[in-house]
C-alpha cells in the first residue's frame, strides 16, 4: 500500500518531468484512439460489404468461352452459338447446397391472355399480334408477364411499400396468383376467381386462381433497369401476374423462362467449394460462378484507403512516439538514480522499487488515457470526414473501366446498378476498440517504465550512491 501512496506522491513531487511524460503519452493515446476508432469502423464497413457482396453468387454465361466454341454449320457459316440451358431442377438442386444461407430465384414467362383484357392493350394494336406461318408455328406475342418468385417474403416493390395487398392474401399454393387492382378491375376479377393464360412459347394454357389483389404505386412503364421490355401491355407493370416458383416450374419449360438466380453463401470464402459442387451437379463450363466483386471494390475503395491510412498513421505515431518515450524516460531515470539508490539503501527491494516506478507511469497513463479516449474519439469523426473526402476524390480521379465485365452477362438479371462509393462514415468508439486502446496504453506505460526497471536490476545501491558522492 505504501508503494502505491509513495508512487502517487512522486507524481506530484516531480511535476515537470511527469507533465512532459504525460504530454507524450497523451499525444500517443490521442493519435492511437483516432486511428483505431476510424480503423475499427472502416473494418466493420469493409467486412459488412464483403459479406454482402462476396456472398452473393450469380451464374452468368461467359460469352468469350461460348464464342470460342463456335463452329460453322453445314453451309460453312459461323452460327451464333446457344448457351446450354440450366434446367429448373438444376437451379433448385443448386439451391439445396449446404454452403448456402439463402437463395433468391425469379422466373419470367411472357403469357397471352385468352379471354381477358390487359391494361393498355390498345397499344398492342400498333404491333403485330402474330407473325405469319402455319397455325402451329404462329408466333403469339406476349400480353402480360407471369413472374415467379422463390422468396415470397421479399417480393420486389412490396418491401418498399410501392405495392400492397389490398384484397385476399399472398399466393400459397400452386397456380395461385396475385394480380394488380387495375388488372382485376378491368376484368372484373376478385379473390377466388380463376382465369386462363397461355404460354406464348409452348402455347399451353395455364389456369390461375386469384389469391389476392395488390395496389400498385409503381410507374406503369417503370421497368427495372436492365430488364427487357416491350411496348404495349407486356411492358405495363399493371399486367404483372405474380406467382410462386412452384407454379412456374410445374407449368413451363425452363427453356422458355428467363431465370434470375442469386445464391447467398454462408461466408464469402465458400465460393470455390460452392462452384465445385455446382460443376459436379452439372453446371456447364461456359457458365461463370461470380460474386459482385466489381461493385464491392467500387463502394469500399475509399474506406479501404482510409483504413490503410489510419493504420499506417497509428504505427508511425507509435514507433516514433515509443522511441521518444524511451529517450525521455532514460533521461528521467538518470535524474532518479539517486532516489532509487536511497530507497534501496533504506531496504526497499528491487521488485518494489520497480513496481513503484511502473505504478507511477501507469497512473500518468491512466490520466492520459481518460483524456485521450474522450478527445480522440471526438476528433475521429472530423478526421475521418476529411480523410474520406480525400479518398473519394482520389477514387473519382481514377480512370474508370469501360463497359461491363468482359464477356460475362448475368442470366435474366438486372444490369449493373449505378453504385456510388461510400462518401461518409459514422465513426464511434466501440468497447472492443476502447479495450485495444487500453492495452496499447498499458504497453506504452510498461515501455516507458522499462528503462527504470532495467536500471534497477542492473545497479546496486552502493554503486548508485557512490557515483553521486
Amino acid at each position: 500500500m505504501y508503494i502505491l501512496k509513495n508512487a502517487l506522491k512522486n507524481i506530484g513531487r516531480n511535476k515537470g518531468r511527469n507533465i512532459l511524460l504525460g504530454i507524450i503519452i497523451f499525444v500517443l493515446i490521442l493519435s492511437t484512439t483516432a486511428a483505431l476508432v476510424i480503423n475499427s469502423t472502416t473494418k466493420g464497413i469493409i467486412d459488412d460489404y464483403k459479406t454482402r457482396f462476396g456472398s452473393k453468387i450469380t451464374l452468368s454465361v461467359d460469352f468469350d468461352k461460348l464464342m470460342s466454341e463456335q463452329k460453322p454449320n453445314a453451309d460453312g457459316i459461323l452460327a451464333f452459338p446457344e448457351a446450354p440451358v440450366i434446367s429448373s431442377e438444376q437451379y433448385m438442386s443448386f439451391a439445396e447446397s449446404e454452403y448456402l444461407k439463402s437463395y433468391h430465384m425469379d422466373m419470367l414467362a411472357g403469357v397471352a391472355l385468352e379471354e381477358l383484357e390487359a391494361v393498355d392493350e390498345k397499344a398492342n394494336d400498333v404491333m403485330a399480334g402474330s407473325i405469319g406461318g402455319s397455325a402451329d408455328d404462329e408466333y403469339i406475342s406476349p400480353e402480360a408477364k407471369l413472374l415467379g418468385y422463390s422468396d415470397t417474403n421479399n417480393l420486389p416493390d412490396f418491401t418498399d411499400g410501392l405495392r400492397k395487398i389490398i384484397e385476399g392474401s399472398l399466393f400459397k399454393n400452386k397456380n395461385e396468383c396475385l394480380i394488380s387492382s387495375d388488372f382485376a378491375d378491368l376484368n372484373g376479377l376478385k379473390t377466388g376467381d380463376s382465369f386462363v393464360v397461355k404460354d406464348t412459347a409452348s402455347k399451353k394454357n395455364v389456369m390461375l386462381t386469384v389469391a389476392g389483389v395488390y395496389a400498385d404505386a409503381t410507374k406503369a412503364s417503370d421497368v427495372p433497369q436492365g430488364s427487357f421490355s416491350l411496348e404495349g401491355s407486356y411492358g405495363n407493370r399493371r399486367n404483372e401476374i405474380l406467382v410462386g416458383l412452384e407454379t412456374m416450374t410445374a407449368n413451363f419449360s425452363v427453356n422458355d423462362l428467363s431465370v434470375n438466380a442469386e445464391y447467398e453463401l454462408k461466408t464469402p470464402d465458400l465460393v470455390k467449394d460452392f462452384e465445385k459442387e455446382l460443376r459436379e451437379k452439372g453446371l456447364p463450363a461456359v457458365y461463370n460462378v461470380e460474386t459482385d466483386e466489381a461493385n464491392y471494390n467500387k463502394i469500399v475503395a475509399p474506406v479501404v484507403g482510409l483504413s490503410k491510412i489510419s493504420m499506417a498513421f497509428m504505427w508511425v505515431i507509435l514507433v516514433v512516439g515509443g522511441i521518444i518515450l524511451l529517450f525521455i524516460t532514460s533521461m528521467a531515470i538518470r535524474e532518479r538514480k539517486y532516489e532509487i539508490g536511497v530507497l534501496r539503501a533504506m531496504g526497499m527491494k528491487k521488485s518494489k522499487v520497480a513496481i513503484m516506478l511502473v505504478i507511477e507511469t501507469v497512473m500518468i497513463t491512466v490520466l492520459c488515457l481518460g483524456a485521450g479516449l474522450g478527445i480522440g474519439s471526438a476528433l475521429s469523426q472530423p478526421i475521418a470526414d476529411s480523410l474520406i473526402a480525400g479518398q473519394v476524390k482520389a477514387v473519382e480521379n481514377q480512370p474508370t473501366q469501360n463497359g461491363s465485365i468482359n464477356g460475362a452477362i448475368s442470366i435474366g438479371g438486372a444490369g449493373e446498378p449505378d453504385i456510388e462509393p461510400l462518401k461518409e462514415i459514422d465513426v464511434s468508439l466501440t468497447p472492443e476498440t476502447a479495450l485495444q486502446i487500453m492495452l496499447i496504453a498499458l504497453a506504452l506505460a510498461l515501455l516507458s517504465s522499462s528503462t527504470g526497471v532495467i536500471f534497477i536490476t542492473k545497479y546496486e545501491p552502493t554503486k548508485i550512491l557512490w557515483e553521486r558522492n
Binding site: 509513495n6 539508490g341 534501496r344 539503501a345 533504506m346 531496504g347 526497499m348 552502493t462
Partner: protein, 221 residues
C-alpha cells in the same frame, strides 16, 4: 555478547588485485559508540558497505546476532536491523522530512499505529520541530538534514546505527550536537553505534576507537 562480528574479512574490487581490506576481524556490542578512523582511501566506506549489507566481502564472514549476512535477506536486514546515516545524508530531496521518516518506517514494515506521530516524536528527539518536519529536504540546512538522517535511521528501532562521516559536511557546533545525539542513543537506548570518520573531533565520543590503515584494522583505545 556481540551483535555484529567481522571474521577475517578481505575485500577486493572486481577486476583488481589490490586488497582494500586485509583479513580484518572485530566484534561490536550494544550500548557502545565505535569510531573507526582512517585517512581517505583507507577502506572506511568499504567497511561500512560490508557491515550494512550493501556489498559482500571477497572472503571472510560477517554475522549479525550469530547469523551470516550471506544467509540473511540483506534488503530485510537493512530495512529492519540497521540504521544508516550518510555523510551526504541520502534523503529523498523532493519529499518532506516527515515523509522520509514515514516511508522508511513503511519499508521496514513498522507496526506503529500512527507512523506520522511516531516520526514526529523521533524528529523532535533529534531537534526537528513539526514545522521543519513538514518542509522539503532541500529547504533544510545541512545540520537539519543530518538530524533527519539520524531520525530516519532510528525509525525502525534498529539494533545497530551505522554512520559514515556523519559530521563531514557540518560546522563544529552542529558536529558536536550530532555526536551527542549518537552517543546518547548508544548509552541510553543501548544501540550499537558505529561511526566511520577521519575527524579527530569525533574520536573523543568513542567508547572504542579503531584505526584503519592500508586495509588493516587496529585497536587504538
Amino acid at each position: 555478547m556481540s551483535v555484529l562480528s567481522l571474521e577475517n574479512i578481505t575485500y577486493k574490487y572486481e577486476g583488481t588485485a589490490k586488497q582494500v581490506l586485509k583479513n580484518i576481524s572485530m566484534d561490536f556490542e550494544p550500548g557502545k559508540v565505535y569510531v573507526i578512523m582512517g585517512k581517505s582511501g583507507a577502506g572506511k566506506s568499504t567497511v561500512l558497505s560490508l557491515i550494512s549489507g550493501l556489498d559482500l566481502p571477497t572472503s571472510g564472514n560477517i554475522s549479525f546476532n550469530g547469523k551470516s549476512l550471506k544467509q540473511l535477506d540483506r534488503d530485510d536486514y537493512r530495512a529492519k536491523s540497521i540504521g544508516l546515516v550518510f555523510q551526504g545524508y541520502n534523503l529523498l530531496t523532493n519529499a518532506t522530512a516527515l515523509e522520509n521518516i514515514v516511508l522508511s518506517m513503511s519499508i521496514s514494515k513498522s507496526v506503529e499505529k500512527s507512523k506520522k506521530q511516531f516520526a514526529l516524536t523521533l524528529l523532535r528527539k533529534v531537534g526537528i520541530d513539526e514545522e521543519t518536519a513538514n518542509r522539503k529536504i532541500l529547504k533544510l540546512s545541512g545540520g537539519e538534514q543530518q538530524r533527519v538522517g539520524i531520525a530516519r535511521a532510528l525509525s525502525h528501532n534498529p539494533d545497530i546505527l551505522i554512520a559514515d562521516e556523519p559530521t563531514g559536511n557540518l560546522d563544529g557546533d552542529t558536529e558536536k550536537n550530532i555526536m551527542e545525539i549518537l552517543q546518547k542513543l548508544a548509552h541510553e537506548e543501548n544501540k550499537c553505534v558505529i561511526v566511520v570518520t577521519h575527524s579527530k573531533h569525533v574520536s573523543k565520543y568513542a567508547d572504542e576507537l579503531w584505526g584503519l590503515n592500508q586495509g588493516n584494522l587496529v585497536f587504538v583505545k
